[in-house]
Each structure stands twice: as structure tokens, then as C-alpha cells.
Amino acid sequence: MSDAVMTVNIAGVEFKNPVMVGSGTFGSGMEYSEFVDLNKLGAVVTKGVANVPWLGNPTPRVVETCGGMLNAIGLQNPGIDTFIERDLEFLKDYDTKVIVNVCGKTVEDYLEVVERLSDKAVDMLEINVSCPNVKEGAIAFGQKADALFNITEQIKKHAAQPVIMKLSPNVTDIAEMAKAAEAAGADAISLINTLTAMKIDIHKRTFALANKTGGLSGPAIKPVAVRMVYQAAQAVKIPVIGMGGIANAEDALEFIMAGATAVAVGAMNFHNPYTTQEVIDGIHDYMIKYGVKDIRELTGCVKQV
């Protein structure tokens, strides 16, 4: 692959390629390691972990929509103790970068997790302030610029690793949110989390999900995600990690051309567990076909029609 350099650098961390996974769609990699070689991924981004175990929402938690799906898992997780003992231990055997997604209900919750991870084999932290499916905390921090600034600033004070703030798309002005994260010291931003959405079962006349609303992901939302990644990348100088409905290399390249330094495959892992590998191979093929020597030539290269 020497003729097509795919490595990217985010806040001093070097990734072998720009393809990661979306938090919550890949566990901690264990289940998907039966399908893809985790060593080939740019990074494994783990499912969100809190200071204590979370039960999550009642079922039904997932439902299909046109070109997408809704989920309202509610950030069920085993808590930081088990996560460190089991999940991080598992990931130690792989030659890939580890990004831990952190969730909480209060600022203190987040800080506790961040501090527990300070001496662990973790390359970056991704702070989930944008999950639409939990009532307390989480998205409350992610929909107002000043709240986002405050939590980012606090986390940066306590974090040993570089910090990615994961932004919610459920906002009026994504550029303002991106700037708030940057101003507070975030090392990178990732977007988009899911769009708050709803499905109704017209025969039962009930919400399809027990949580009423869920987060919409999948190819259906890709155009919204590309737009937001573009606007965010235009607004800030820190690296942007783009995601939202990536199903193949063409989709990933849209995000990269819009300004994303790296990308993540999310819901499409459920459709095709080999998606990550196919995206990596497809980007490489594109680079060879068009004589692109370094993936960074493509980052933000989109121009007027």
C-alpha cells in the first residue's frame, strides 16, 4: 500500500487508516472479531461506558425504517469496572487504536470515567453528549453551545488522552456547536450522532419503540450527516471524524471530501458485518484508480460544481 498512504493523524495519534466504527454499533469489537480482522481497522470505538452499569431502556429498542433504523438502547453498559477488566483487556491483543466512548448523567459521572481511564491502554476518548435516548444528562450537554463548552472544558482538565466531542445533529446550528467544542479545548469532534425520530405502528396504534422516540441512523441520514460534517469542518481547525449511514467506500469518501479526517461505519455493521473492511479496501482502490498518493489530498477537497 506504499503507493497510497492511508494513515491519518488526529491529535498526535496515528491511525493506520481513516476507517473506524461508530460507537454502539460494534460492542467492544469482540462480537465482530468473528467477521473482520480488528487489526485492519483504523480504530475500534467502543460502546459508551458510564461510571456504573446502566440498565438501558425497555424493549422494543430497535425498529427498521426506510433506508435506516431507529434505536433506543438507552446506553445500556456494564460500567467502567467490567469495561476495564474485560473489554480493554480483550482489545490489548489487537494492533489497532482504541477510542473509548464515555457517557454519563452528570458532569461528575463523565469525569469519573475519564479519570479511571487515565492510566489505561486507551488512545482517545470520545465524549457522548448527544445520545437522544436517555432522559438525564447526555443530550442536555449536547444541544446548547454553552453547556457543551462547559462539559468539554471540565473533561479536558481531567483527561489524560486526547478528547473527541461527539456532536448531536439535533441542533439549529452545527457550526456553533463545533466552535464551542473547539474553543473549550476539544482535540477533535465526531458527528453525527443519530437524529431523534419516531415510528408508529398504525395497526396497534402505539409507538414502535418503548421509549417513544429513538435515534435514526443508516443511509437515510447520510446527506444530513455530510452537510453537517462539511459545515463543522469549515467552522473549526481541529480534526473532524465523520459518520452517518456509511455503507461503502463511496459514502466514506463523501465524508472525507466534505472535510472529515477519519470516518466511522455505524448501523451498516448490522446489515453487513464486513462493511468496515470493504470500506477500507474501497478507499484504497479509489486512491489507486485516481492516483491519489496520500489520503490527506482528499480531505475537504470538495469544490463548486
Partner: protein
């Protein structure tokens, strides 16, 4: 016994009853499958991203592996499957889930509606004495005759048009069915009845649950059920139906 996604071929498709179809698929996955496991079956309609989890009805090594699913049309996805013909391609992921534990005891197999199919492969593989209790809405039954060679078959119908009028527990009582272990798959109210019956009679019971799924492999936590005690994997009172199940000891889960 590794999970994999592959494009398989339809061997044959047959309608068994109103909205109930049987499809044989040629796939190497069959050799690894055990009763109680399931497949994720993908639609060709690209607007539908999530696979349909469908239990394995039969599986053997013949012709490089053959696997049978019997399923109900529940929506556009399964409707699409029902139109597949011999030679068509079908994308599947499997084998998924744990399957039923094979116990060396007199067994009661209980299937209700579209929970009946997984009992067929189980009936074949349980070598001891067994009674098969099948619950249907009415006399438009399916698969019942195929069970006859594996054990005593008892039928319940909601409308009483065949066998015991009532549910599978009514049929068990009316026919004084007994055994040392129960295996059950069917709608939640039926499984609640089975769990209660098993507790009252101190019989071990293994029940197969279902829930809307996304990944099918234990990663997304979409399809959890409530567990009686804190689960070792989740550290909360939730178990993953797709990965920790779909078969659970009835005492482990709350319905």
C-alpha cells in the same frame, strides 16, 4: 461453528398453511447449526437494512448442507422471502444463538404457532421418550404430521377445531403429559404459562424468546430480555436474546 454471512441458494419453497411458508436453503451453515439456533435473513429490498431473525426448523449435511426455515409472513420482508423460487439467492448470517441443551430425560416439546418450527430439529435430535405439544389458532395446522415419527403429538387449538380447545397447557393437562424437561418456543403469553407450569411441577424448562433485533450477534444490545439476576455479561438484569439466548432456562428470565 463460526458465524458467517453468505449468499445461499433456495432449494425449494412451499406454502404450508395460511401465511406460513417452508423454505429449504443450500448452505454450509447447516452443518454447524443446532436446534434452537436461528438465521438472520436479509431482504433484497435495499430500503430494509435489518435482517429477519428466523429459527432453524431442520438442518443436515446432505448435498453440502441443507437448512430449512418455516416462517410466517409478518411484513414486507417475510413476504419477499415467500416469493423466492428454487435457485434464487438469499443472503443469510448464521448460525446464531445458543440452541437448546440436549438433556437425557423424558422430554416435553412445546411449540405455539410460529414457535413450532425449531421443535422439529430438536425432536429429531432428542433420542429419548418425548411428547410434542403443538398449539395453533385453528385446524389450519402445519408441520404437525412431520412430528409423528419422533414422538407422541398432542394438539391444542384456540377455537377447539382440532385437539384440546385452549392453549398448550390445557392440552398438557388434558392429556396428562409428563416429563423431566420442557423445551418451548412460542408467543410470550404461552411461555409465561410454560414457565409457571414448570415451576409448579418442578420441571426444568428451556424457553426460546424473541424480540426485535438489529445486529443478531450480541453487539448492539437491541434485543434484550429481563433476567432474574444480574447478568454476568451485561452487569445489569438484562440478557441478550441473540447471543445469550434465544434459549434460556425459564428460571433465568422474567417474562
Amino acid at each position: 461453528m463460526s458465524k458467517r454471512k453468505e449468499t445461499a441458494r433456495v432449494i425449494s419453497q412451499e406454502k404450508l398453511a395460511d401465511e406460513i411458508y417452508s423454505m429449504w436453503i443450500k448452505t454450509g451453515i447447516a452443518s454447524d447449526a443446532v436446534p434452537g439456533q436461528f438465521l438472520s435473513v436479509y431482504t433484497k429490498d435495499k430500503t430494509r437494512l435489518l435482517p429477519r431473525p428466523i429459527s432453524i426448523c431442520e438442518a443436515d449435511d446432505k448435498d453440502g448442507g441443507r437448512l430449512r426455515i418455516v416462517y410466517r409472513i409478518a411484513g414486507a420482508g417475510t413476504k419477499e422471502f415467500s416469493k423466492y423460487k428454487t435457485g434464487d439467492e438469499v443472503d443469510i448470517l448464521g448460525p446464531l444463538g445458543n440452541g437448546f441443551p440436549i438433556k437425557n430425560e423424558k422430554a416435553i416439546l412445546v411449540g405455539g404457532g410460529i414457535g413450532i418450527p425449531p421443535m422439529l430439529e430438536l425432536a429429531k435430535r432428542l433420542k429419548g421418550e418425548k411428547t410434542i405439544v403443538l398449539g395453533y389458532r385453528n385446524k389450519d395446522t402445519f408441520l404437525d404430521k412431520e412430528f409423528l415419527s419422533y414422538g407422541n403429538v398432542v394438539i391444542a387449538t384456540d377455537d377447539g377445531s382440532l385437539g384440546t380447545k385452549g392453549n398448550v397447557i390445557d392440552a398438557i393437562k388434558e392429556n396428562k403429559v409428563d416429563g423431566g424437561v420442557i423445551y418451548a418456543c412460542g408467543p410470550t403469553p404461552m411461555l409465561r404459562g410454560v414457565k409457571k407450569f414448570a415451576e409448579e411441577n418442578s420441571i426444568e424448562a428451556y424457553i426460546s424468546l424473541e424480540e426485535r433485533m438489529a445486529c443478531g450477534v450480541g453487539a448492539c444490545l437491541g434485543c434484550v430480555c429481563k433476567s432474574t439476576d444480574t447478568d454476568d455479561h451485561s452487569k445489569v438484569k438484562n440478557k441478550r436474546i441473540c447471543a445469550d439466548g434465544p434459549v434460556f432456562n425459564a428460571t433465568e428470565v422474567e417474562l
